[in-house]
Structure formats: structure tokens, C-alpha cells
């Protein structure tokens, strides 16, 4: 259908005019509220309290969400919101990784707040259009789009009945519809979900940016926690923002010169060192596929193992040499010299509704290759690319899909579920066709795909209650916690990383802490106190990126040549200073590293108390499946028998000689579970929480976060 017909069928529900504004030191100083139930649109001022306590980005998102919901609100209630916010640094073009938005909502998987960090142009263009955040509440009756014209100061809500739902088609349609010409497409950014988000709980949001060299609309994903599911439940088809005339100084920074100077220094580093270090510009995050395999950390067959001989078929060089287009500036915002947003062009699809079409696949990122590939034993690069494409366009989180499919495959192989339950599907490890069919079923809303799309937490209940499976065994092998599927790293041999996953606010995603090398390989954090310090510093430091609109990757996916001579190379001190300089340049705020950590701590503890308010967030919720800690089955133990036997001798002081595998598993388990308990104690203490993981009132005082609504939630839990 042509674009004019699509547009002519829009029905205007509401038009709202606003004054165009000017950004002051990184803040537009107002936010936009849109309710798709009653079509109310309004502006809200950004208060000094919001800036002081929440900074921006994820901080603003969580604050608005807190005020929108009650402890009773469910993800699919109209009160639930989706909040998209950049942050004060978001939108500058002189440093790498400065175009990120944070998206917050109550998650259909976890029932607590989720936050997801995403690239693409929407966040920066929203700010340049006059708003530090966009709050969406309500539920529309029919499919709507929300359009923000930042050139003229008009916001509209329109019924949009005929456009596609799948991300790659809808992104193209709306980019073309709202751009005046080819050159103008760069000024249009679209947020979509996809058909899969309508029938699963782990739907994602696609954020577009137009790629003028490839002449396609590229997609970046706010992947985790099912925000796309909330989006489609609200009957939102898309959000569009248009703003022309992007320039480097639109944030009206406090000191442009220091931003420029810091940026030039960083770009030179990328230019000189990337090819010697992580090769981000050639392959992006997928550079570590073979590294994780070599260190026994790659999830294989639902995290049973950490390496596989067939990994060589999906190692990064295979993607570089055969699929990923090289020599293209793949930044997901202007000025990102790290340029890791790689893509495979002219990829011909073999299955599904777009079979035979040649498409651009955004990826694969490491998580996709590991989750869709090794974890499901699909060691086929084209299989991975195909699943990657369909996950994106259907708006299915690749991580949750990969981990949930791996779980279902293991259940199938162990006879917990069978062909009758899967609707005739042979869900063995390695079966690409079956994995693809699950995805297509999620898109169509039928078959066993819908069951897998409910996530591991709900599959475990179903398999136990309906099919008589052993709930304890399912708990051990089901790699989810708090309702969220694990991301794609094996953590069995790193106690610190077990905490890096288990002691998070939103669930087991590695964006808070990735400590495996520090802990397991380098032995740099041997004591509980050392691990607790790392599990305080890194989650707080990494939270900070989400407050300012920054990407984490430029921090440590390249390091200065002399980084190794610094006292704490893992923290990359020069880059931390760069960030402090950039924030000073934009906002005029002179921060020290401890100020930075304190800013994060405020928001982190706020999110923690938000989780408690919603009925989670306590020690019991930090319990993790045993497979994240150690070998569950005989095969797992015996595959690394030498390692485990020697640990029993050295660490547990237990002689494994003559003992059965089952006995040895039980002794090792007791030891490791106890270690995790001790880790929890140490981490909670370091974070200023009591032994039930509740922030202490004096800690809130230290953070200057004694808000009455927070005290109300935790005062009886002290």
C-alpha cells in the first residue's frame, strides 16, 4: 500500500501546540505527557529537585513511573507508563556514545520497574524538540501513533489503522511518510514494537535511525523486560519525532571547548587502537564470541556448558568475512567513532512471512549470537542472522527468546515436555527450524510459541502444574530470576558474577556488573569484602550512564594505551575523567568520582525501594537458579570433573575419591550456595542495606534521599 493511502486513513484524535524552546546546559527543562486513553497532552516543568536527585534519563523515568502507579498497579493497567528520557548529555555530537535514551515501565515479566538503554535518534531529537522526557500513559481503543513535530511545535495523536506492525516495515513506512525528501529522513526517528510483542511478555521497542549510505531505516532495541508488550497493550503503533537542523551545540553547553577537546582525544584513541584491541568498528560486540568460548563462559545448551567445538562456525571472523558490511560508519548517533552498530546487508530470508526477501539485519551483537546461537546449539551463522532479524522485526527480545528457547529445548530433550505439548515440534537443541517456527508462532499468536513467549518463570509453573514436572529441577535449570531471563554469560565459576546477576534491581542483566575476568581469571577480588566493593562500585558507576544519556561501550571497549600503568586499570580512570569533563562541559557541574557514585546511588536506591513497594526487592528475591552457580546434572559435573573434584579437595576440604557424582554434586552445591549467602551479606552491607536487602534509613539520609514516600515503604522493614 502506498504511503499516501496510509496517511489519508489517519484520523486525527488530538492536536496540541507548544512553544519551541531552547535547551539550557543540557536540559530542555520540561517534559511531555501524553495519555492515549483520554488524549490529554500536557507539558510538565522539570524541577530543581528532579535534577538534583534524579539527574535525567533513567532517573526521570523512574520518578515519573513511581508517581504514575500504586503498589497494586499491574503492567497492563492503563496507569502503567512508558517513559523515554535521554539525559543532560544526550545529543551532544563531539564524544562517542552520547545519543542514548532510557526507557522505563512496569515489566510484564517481573511486575517491577524495568529500564532499558537504547540508541537510535529518538532521544536526542525529542530533546531538541523541547522535551527531556516523554511520558505515555493510558490505553487507546484503536491503534494510534503519536507524532511530535519539533520544527513547528505540534504534537498529534492519530489513529493509524493501515500501517504494518512489524518493526522493519513500519519504521520504513513512517520515516518515508514524515520526511519531506530523502535527505530529511535523517531528521525523523520512529519507535515501534512488532507483531511478536502482541503475543509474548518479552516484547521490545525498536528505535530507528536512517542510514543514508544503505538507504534503509536501521533498528536499535530497548530489549529487556517486555516494554514492547506494554506498548502494544496500549495499542500504540508508533511514536515519531521530527526535528531538522541537528547541530553540535544544541545543548547550549556550559563549556563547548572542553567537550571538543575531550572528544578529539577520544576519537584519536579509537582510530589508533581499536584494531589492536576489540575491533568494535569491524564487528561490534560480537568480537567476544570466541573469547567467551575459550574461557568456558559461552552459554551452551541452556548454560550447561561454556564451550563447544562448533563455536568456530559462529566466531566473529565468520561474520566479518561473510556477512557484515565493512567500511561503513555504523554509529547509532552522530559522532560515535566506536561505530559498533554493525549490519549484514542483502541477507536473504529462508523462512516466515518475509521469506525470499533480501533484508538488512542489525547485528549480530554478542548477546544475539550467544543466545540465539550457542545457547540453543544453533552453530549456524545464517540461522543466527535469520533469528536475529525476526526477533527485531517482530519485537522480541533476543536475550529472553534465546534463554527461554534454550530452557524449552532442554525440557524437551529431558522428556519433561514432548511433541504433543509442543504441537508436533521436535524441539531438540540445534533445531533452527523449530526455533524459527517458535518465533513465527509468537508473531501469529498461536501454538507453543505463545507458551515460550510467556517466559521461563511462567513456563516453569505450567510444566509443573499441568505436565507434572519436578518444580525443584525446573528451578535449578530455568535461567530466570525475578521473572527476567538471564543474559548470555556463564557465571558458574565466578561468585562475583553470580552476584552481578543475582543482586540487581531489575533482574539478571549484565549491564550492572561484568566481573568474571576480575574474579575468576585474575583473582583480583578474592575476599567477600573485595567482591562486595566491586558489586558496589561497578553497578553504581554503570547506572550513571543511564542518568546522562550515555552508552557504556566507549567506556571500556577500548582503553588508552597507558591504561595498564594506572592503579586500577579495570576502571579505565582516564575515561572516567573524560566523562566528568564532558558533564562539566555540558552542565557546568564539577563532579568528583565519589559525587558520580552518589548520584547513581540515589537513583539505584530509589529503584530498589520501588521494587520493594511493588512486592519484590528483598533477600528472597535475590535467590538464583543453581545452574548460575554450579553443575546441576551429572553430565555437567562429569564434563568438568577434574575442576570440580579439585575444588572439593581444596576449597571444601572433602575427599572426592570413591564418591558418586551425585554425592559430589550435593556437597559442592551446599558449599556454593553458602558462599552466595555470604556474598549477599557482604554486598548488602556495602550498599547500606540491612540483611533483608532493604536500604537503611540512615543510608537514605546520607544520600539526601529522605523522601517521605520512600520512608513510608521501608520504615517497617528496618
Amino acid at each position: 500500500m502506498d504511503i499516501i493511502t496510509l496517511k489519508n486513513n489517519h484520523k486525527l484524535l488530538k492536536e496540541y501546540k507548544y512553544e519551541l524552546g531552547k535547551i539550557d546546559k543540557g536540559y530542555a527543562n520540561r517534559t511531555l505527557y501524553v495519555n492515549v486513553s483520554d488524549n490529554n497532552i500536557m507539558e510538565k516543568p522539570v524541577t530543581q529537585m528532579m535534577k538534583d536527585k534524579f539527574v535525567g534519563g533513567k532517573g526521570f523515568g523512574l520518578w515519573y513511573l513511581w508517581n504514575a502507579v500504586t503498589s497494586e498497579t499491574k503492567w497492563n493497567d492503563p496507569e502503567n507508563e512508558i517513559v523515554i528520557a535521554g539525559g543532560p548529555v544526550c545529543g551532544i555530537t563531539q564524544y562517542a556514545g552520547t545519543g542514548k535514551s532510557l526507557v522505563c515501565s512496569l515489566s510484564p515479566l517481573t511486575d517491577i520497574p524495568i529500564d532499558s538503554n537504547v540508541g537510535g535518534f529518538f532521544g536526542p531529537l525529542l530533546k531538541f524538540s523541547g522535551f527531556d522526557a516523554l511520558e505515555i500513559q493510558g490505553k487507546a481503543e484503536k491503534d494510534v501513533i503519536v507524532y511530535i513535530d519539533g520544527n513547528t511545535g505540534v504534537v498529534t495523536i492519530e489513529e493509524a489503522p493501515l500501517e504494518a506492525v512489524d518493526g522493519h516495515v513500519l519504521g520504513e513506512q513512517l520515516t518515508e511518510m514524515y520526511a519531506d525528501n530523502e535527505a530529511d529522513k535523517r531528521n525523523v526517528a520512529v519507535v515501534t514494537a512488532g507483531t511478536g510483542a502482541e503475543h509474548s511478555r518479552f516484547g521490545l521497542l525498536n528505535f530507528t535511525f536512517y542510514d543514508p549510505r544503505r538507504k534503509v531505516t536501521r533498528l536499535k532495541q530497548a530489549g529487556r523486560g517486555g516494554i514492547g508488550t506494554v506498548f502494544r497493550d496500549k495499542k500504540i503503533k508508533a511514536l515519531i519525532v521530527k526535528f531538522s537542523n541537528v547541530k553540535g551545540d544544541l545543548n547550549n553547553p556550559f563549556d563547548q571547548a572542553i567537550i571538543n577537546k575531550t572528544g578529539i582525544k577520544y576519537h584519536k584513541e579509537i582510530h589508533d587502537l581499536d584494531s589492536k584491541q576489540n575491533n568494535m568498528r569491524k564487528i561490534g560486540t560480537a568480537n567476544i564470541i570466541e573469547v567467551m568460548d575459550a574461557y568456558d563462559l559461552l552459554p551452551v545448551m541452556n548454560y550447561q556448558y561454556g564451550m563447544h567445538p562448533d563455536t568456530q562456525n559462529i566466531k566473529s571472523t565468520v561474520f566479518i568475512e561473510k556477512y557484515i558490511t565493512q567500511g561503513v560508519q555504523d554509529g547509532c548517533w552522530y559522532g560515535c567513532s566506536m561505530a559498533c552498530a554493525k549490519a549484514a546487508d542483502n541477507f536473504e530470508l529462508k523462512t516466515g512471512p518475509y521469506k525470499g526477501q533480501k533484508v538488512t539485519v542489525d547485528g549480530p551483537e554478542y548477546e544475539n549470537a550467544a543466545g540465539l546461537g550457542s545457547n540453543c546449539a544453533i552453530f549456524d551463522p545464517e540461522g543466527i542472522l535469520e533469528l536475529n532479524f525476526y526477533c527485531d522485526t517482530y519485537a522480541i527480545d533476543t536475550i529472553s527468546f534465546g534463554t527461554a528457547t534454550a530452557f524449552a529445548m532442554e525440557c524437551y530433550e529431558r522428556g519433561i515436555i514432548n511433541k504433543e505439548i509442543t504441537g508436533g515440534m521436535e524441539l531438540n537443541f540445534g533445531n533452527f527450524e523449530a526455533a524459527a517456527e517458535l518465533l513465527h508462532q509468537m508473531s501469529r499468536g498461536e501454538g507453543f510459541g505463545v507458551t515460550v513467549g510467556q517466559g521461563i518463570n511462567r513456563m516453569k509453573k505450567l510444566f509443573a502444574e499441568k505436565y507434572g514436572a519436578d518444580p525443584d529441577f525446573l528451578f535449578d535449570i530455568g535461567m530466570e530470576q525475578k521473572g527476567l531471563e538471564y543474559s548470555e554469560y556463564g557465571s558458574k565459576e565466578s561468585l562475583a558474577q553470580q552476584g552481578g546477576y543475582g543482586l540487581t534491581n531489575k533482574g539478571p542483566q549484565h549491564d550492572e556488573a561484568w566481573l568474571i575476568f576480575m574474579d575468576m581469571v585474575n583473582n583480583q577480588i578474592p575476599t567477600f569484602e573485595d567482591k562486595a566493593e566491586a558489586l558496589h562500585y561497578f553497578p553504581m558507576f554503570r547506572t550513571w550512564f543511564g542518568l546522562y544519556g550515555l552508552c557504556k561501550l566507549p567506556w571500556n571497549d577500548i582503553v588508552p594505551a597507558d591504561n595498564k600503568y594506572t592503579s586500577e586499570p579495570a576502571k579505565v580512570p582516564e575515561h572516567v575523567q573524560n566523562y566528568l569533563d564532558v558533564v562539566y562541559g555540558v552542565t557546568g557541574k564539577k563532579l568528583s568520582v565519589s559525587d558520580m557514585i552518589k548520584e547513581s546511588e540515589r537513583v539505584y536506591n530509589f529503584q530498589k525501594i520501588f521494587c520493594i513497594r511493588m512486592g519484590k526487592g528483598l533477600r528472597a528475591n535475590d535467590r538464583t537458579p543453581y545452574r548460575s552457580m554450579g553443575p546441576v546434572t551429572k553430565e555437567e559435573y562429569e564434563s568438568r570433573q577434574e575442576r570440580y573434584d579439585s575444588q572439593l579437595k581444596e576449597k571444601v576440604v572433602y575427599d572426592p575419591e570413591g564418591k558418586s557424582t551425585e554425592e559430589k554434586i550435593a556437597v559442592l552445591r551446599k558449599y556454593r550456595e553458602n558462599q552466595y549467602e555470604l556474598l549477599m551479606d557482604a554486598v548488602y552491607k556495602r550498599r547500606g542495606w540491612n540483611s533483608n536487602a532493604v536500604p537503611k534509613l540512615e543510608h537514605l539520609k546520607y544520600l539526601d534521599m529522605e523522601l517521605p514516600e520512600l520512608i513510608e515503604v521501608i520504615k517497617d522493614l528496618q
Binding site: 589492536k276 584491541q277 576489540n278 560486540t285 567476544i288 570466541e290 573469547v291 575459550a294 574461557y295 554478542y366 548477546e367 543474559s487 554469560y489 549484565h510 549491564d511 561484568w514 566481573l515 568474571i516 575476568f517 576480575m518 581469571v521 585474575n522 583480583q524 557504556k552 571500556n556 571497549d557 582503553v559 591504561n563 595498564k564 600503568y565 586499570p569 579495570a570
Partner: protein, 51 residues
């Protein structure tokens, strides 16, 4: 045994490893010629990676 030999035995293939022998930094081009003796303090620090 050289630094390179130890890295092979340990299967250390990651690209960003800081090597120190008795607190002295060893550059990558010297791995093959730096001999490690019994009792030497060898550190092979892998820098953080991932996501």
C-alpha cells in the same frame, strides 16, 4: 619458560591482557622473549569485557 608459553598453556587468548613479571610490565612484543623463572611473581590481568 616464556610469557608466551605460559599464555599458551593457560589458553589466554583475550586481546587485552596486562602482563607483569615481578611488577614489571611486559609489552606484547616481548612475550616470546621474556623468560619466567621459578618463584617469579607473574600477573596476567584480563581487562573487563562484556556487554
Amino acid at each position: 619458560m616464556t610469557v608466551e608459553d605460559i599464555m599458551k598453556i593457560k589458553k589466554f587468548s583475550y586481546s587485552r591482557i596486562i602482563v607483569k613479571v615481578n611488577d614489571k610490565h611486559i609489552e606484547q612484543e616481548d612475550y616470546a622473549v621474556t623468560v619466567v623463572n621459578d618463584g617469579d611473581d607473574v600477573k596476567m590481568i584480563h581487562l573487563l569485557a562484556g556487554g
